[in-house]
Structures are given as structure tokens and as C-alpha cells.
Assembly symmetry: D2
Homo-oligomer: 174 residues x 4
């Protein structure tokens, strides 16, 4: 899945696997676009494992969020930081594909990256990897709109937020 | 959103609102396709509400599951019942769109229906309604494969499972 | 555990089993005090069951809360209602004893009652029963202080709150 | 709360604060017994924060468990490791006291230690600290019995388990 072994602490240069999420937006991906992911390590918790002995699928939503916040907080785009700037970024869409089960005792890596869009939306893509063998356990995406604190939709990204997004995109190389 | 007021205890005859799942694929829906949903009432719990004062988006995954199990258990297709027949139906894909926030104190209705497919997959569609005004708060879907207890994928639905699915589809009118 | 079969819809007249929680405050209990409980029925959800096939012990905390809110909301003492009156009632202590496991597919009843205290604290007691056989699966208690919206501790229960508490205690017969 | 600044990576030498949990078992504690805690760092997750803006009290149960498993796994006493040896250690009692709220963005430390008992029970004690200022946010304890895989209670700790417990107690200095 991953083409080469050059992993920095927080980086994974790999082929995009979240095919469905990208292809209508970005034809480059079909030609082998490399995405860079921010990596957040997590330990599977006992209570996250269901009666089938694998992590219950709904907990991946919390993992995606943990990865996203770990990324966005470095660019003043975390939930609290956005709120202090008088904005919210609620999730309006969530997609997840489950490839392989995660089990108790495993360490996983949440990989998070961001899509470059023309509209006033934030689109994050995720991969959950087994830390030991780097196999992809799940992929997914979340789409966020921007609102003011009263929940009114913004149709344009405010300049102060745009600067943070651009810094994050530069970091991610997207 | 809902065309008429004839609600039986467990039934909602309404226009399909799960746009993404249907409308680009199925023009019939625009001409008034009626789906029937199994309904499961739930109370929003305090711990499901996040620091923005609305139900955290990840909890909808548990709500979908509660609706699905409430439906499938009536047709011996619940997780335990399937397991007793030596099958599992793990989630391989999850989609959710969030329309309006749910808040603490609200009562919601989880509507669940099932798609008729040609492949050995179970595809469920969900709507979360505000119980008071019947506004749609969220829509979503989950896709499940069938495996044996060792996790080996089944490429054909076993006869005993097929009979249950058909009974459920008859109940749902799909 | 329960002495007689006369169950009203929301009432259970039974011997107090939460011995440890009461004994220092209320000697009457040792002489066989009967408590009345408000009852809240719940379905066990699939995601609440852990890899041992039983409800994970931490989920009982959410169940206690669901029972407590179901009770307190009837007396304008729910979290939102208190907040509207400019008070909060945060949990400062939690105790739980686990007697028998709850499993997926089970229906449970959360029984909630309230202790009569001389101090500015709310002390709730809980029992979780199997709905089918009325066996006690768990017992527990939570202690809440009263604060203003800034978190300052109240050393006296405000009159408007006291009236609600007394109405609730009258309902509970404590 | 903590007497001196000599913190090793995983150790905290401090006065016991979980007064109530110990006093009937261990009179030494009243005379200022020092406990050593195993430390597990955690990031507060967004979904763990409730509508009051603080971590919902029930999530501390999962944190205690994360700390306990991080400790016990080092001594082959984790849930899976015990199960492989044909034993289970279900929680039969849980206590928690909440001192100060934890908020989103905070890093916390779960401190875990174990009580030395004469009976066939495992009793763990916990403290949750704010990582930045080392203030105690919560304390608690869990009591576990030992059973075989069928759930039959063990009245004596098996030798192979006893050796692991003693190694853990030696590590903890209890």
C-alpha cells in the first residue's frame, strides 16, 4: 500500500487509497498522486472492543476526530481555537470503509490529511494503520462547513481562517 | 418531507430523503418512490451531547445500529441470531449526512430500511427524525458483508439467511 | 430481593439493597426501610457489550444518568432545567457494585431514588434490574453538589430548588 | 498533594489521597504511607467533553481501565493475557471521586497502583492528574474478583497468577 520506506516521525508519503473520495475532484490522483498524512498514534482501549473481539466500527469516528484535532491544533484550527475566533466547523458528512479489524492490545496510527477545495468546506481524509505492520485497517473522510457561533453558514472562508488552512495545506503538501 | 399523516406504530410511508444514496442513481425516487421504514424511538442521553450542546456526530453510528438491530431481530437477523446460525455480518462501509443538530432532552426516531441488492451484501438506510416535528436530523447507510465465523467472505447468501432477508424486505415493502 | 409483586408502572416497593451507601446516614434502613424507585426501561445496545460478551462496566454510569434524568426532568431538576435556573449539579462521587452481567438483547430497568440529606448535596441511588426476571444486576449511587454557573459551591440549597427536591422526594416517598 | 519533586518517568512518590478506600484495610496509610503509581499519559478527546465543557464523569471509568491495562500488561495480567491462562478478572466494585474538571485540550496522567490484600481480589487505585500542573482531578478504585472462564469464582489466587501479582506489587513497591 505504501510505496517506500522513508517514514519521518509524522509523515507518510504514500499512494492515495481513498479512491472514491477524491476521484471526482482531483484527476491527478488517478495518475499516482502522493498524499502526505499527519500521523497520530493511539492505543486500542479495552472498552472499544465489541463482543466479536474487534474494535466496534463506531469508535473509528472518534479516532478520526482525534487525528484531525491533533493535526488542526498545530495550526490554530482546533475546535476551541476556531471557537475563540468566533467560528465553528461542524461535521456535515462522514464516510468510512472498514478493511481489516483492529483488536485489543494493538497500537494504531491515525493518518490525517486535508483536501484542497474551492468551496467553503473543510474535507479531511483518514487512514487507520496497524502500527506494527502498517496495514490499512480503515479509510474515511469527514466534510465540515464553517459557521459563525450562531450556526449561520459561511459561504466564504474568512481570511484569518484561510491563512491557517493554507499553512496546514503547506505542511501536508496538498 | 413526509407526504401523509397515516403513521402506523412502526411505519412511515414517506419520500426518500437519503439523497446521495439514491437520487443520482435512481430517477424513480424523484417521481415519488415511497420507502417504508421501521421506526425505533430513542431518548437523547446527556453523555451523547458534546461541548457545542448538540449530539456528537459519532453517536449517530450507535443510533443507526440500535435501529438496525431493532429491525433485524424481528427476523432472526440480529447479531446474536446470525452468529447462532454460524454467520456474521460485519460493517464494511458507513455513510452519514448531518442535516440538523439533535439536542439533549429531545426524543428521536431512528428509521431503518433495507436496500434490495443482487450481491451478497446487506445495505441498510437510516433517517434520524426529531420525534416532535418529524424533521430529518440525519441520514445514513451501512453496508455489511456476510462471513462465516472464521471471517471468510461469503459470495452467495445462504438459503436460510436469504429467507429471513426476504421476510424483512416483504415487511419493509422494498 | 423484592418483597412483593405489586408493581405499578413506575414504582418498585422493595428493601433497600445499597446498604453501604445509607448506613451512616439513616439508621432506619437497617430496620428494613422500604424505598420507592422511579423506573426507566432501557434496551442493551450492541456497542455497550465488551469482548467478554457482557455490558462493559463503565456503561452503567450512563445508565444511572439516564435513570436520574428521567426522574429529575419530571420535577424541573434535569441538567438543562437547573441550568436555566442558574445552577449546576456536578457529580462529585460515584459508586457502583456489579452483581450479575447484562448481555446483548436484554432489556433492563434502571431504578432511581433519592436520599434525604441535611446538607446541600443531592444523593441518588440506583439499581439495574433484568426486566425479565427482576434480578438485580448492579447497584450504585452518585453524589452531586450544587454550584452557580461559575462553579462556585452553594452551601445552602436555594429555595426554588428545594421546592423541586421536596416534590421529588414526596413522589419517591423518601 | 504531592510531597516532593522527584518524578521518574513512570513513578510518582506521593501521599495516598484515596483515604476512604484504604482505611479499613491498611492502618499504615493513616500514618502517611507513600504509594508508588504507574503513570499513563492520555490526551482528552473532544467527544469525552460534555455540554458543560468538562469531561463527562463516566469517561473516567475508561481512563482508569486504560491506566490499569497499561500497568497489568507489563506483568502478563492484562485481560487477554489472563484469559489465555484461563482466568477472568471482572470488576465487581467501582468508586470515583471527582475533584476538579478536565477540559478539552488538556493532557492528563492516569496513575495506577494496586492494594495488597489477603483475599482473592485485585484492588486497584487511581488518580487522574493534570499533566501540566500535576493537580489531582479525580481519584478512584476498582475491585476485581478472579473467575475461571465459565465465571466460577476463585477463592484462592492460583499460583501462576500470584507470581505475576507479586512481581507487579514489587514494581509498585506496595
Amino acid at each position: 500500500m505504501v510505496q517506500d520506506g522513508r517514514f519521518a516521525r509524522y509523515w507518510d508519503f504514500g499512494f492515495c487509497v481513498a479512491k472514491r473520495s477524491f476521484d471526482s475532484n482531483n484527476v491527478e490522483l488517478d495518475r499516482g498522486c502522493r498524499l502526505r498524512y499527519h500521523e497520530t498514534p493511539l492505543q486500542v482501549r479495552f472498552y472499544e472492543v465489541d463482543s466479536y473481539g474487534v474494535v466496534w466500527h463506531g469508535h473509528y469516528v472518534g479516532w478520526f476526530e482525534a487525528g484531525r484535532n491533533d493535526l488542526t491544533q498545530r495550526f490554530c484550527m482546533g475546535p476551541l481555537q476556531l471557537k475563540e475566533t468566533n467560528y465553528l466547523a461542524p461535521v456535515v458528512e462522514l464516510n468510512c470503509e472498514f478493511k481489516l479489524p483492529a483488536t485489543f492490545g494493538a497500537s494504531v496510527i491515525i493518518q490525517t490529511t486535508m483536501e484542497r477545495t474551492e468551496v467553503a468546506k473543510l474535507i479531511f481524509h483518514y487512514r487507520v494503520l496497524d502500527q506494527e505492520n502498517r496495514k490499512v485497517l480503515a479509510t474515511g473522510s469527514t466534510t465540515h462547513v464553517l459557521t459563525d457561533l450562531k450556526g449561520n453558514l459561511l459561504y466564504r472562508v474568512p481570511q484569518e481562517v484561510l491563512e491557517r488552512i493554507e499553512a496546514m495545506q503547506k505542511y501536508l503538501g496538498v
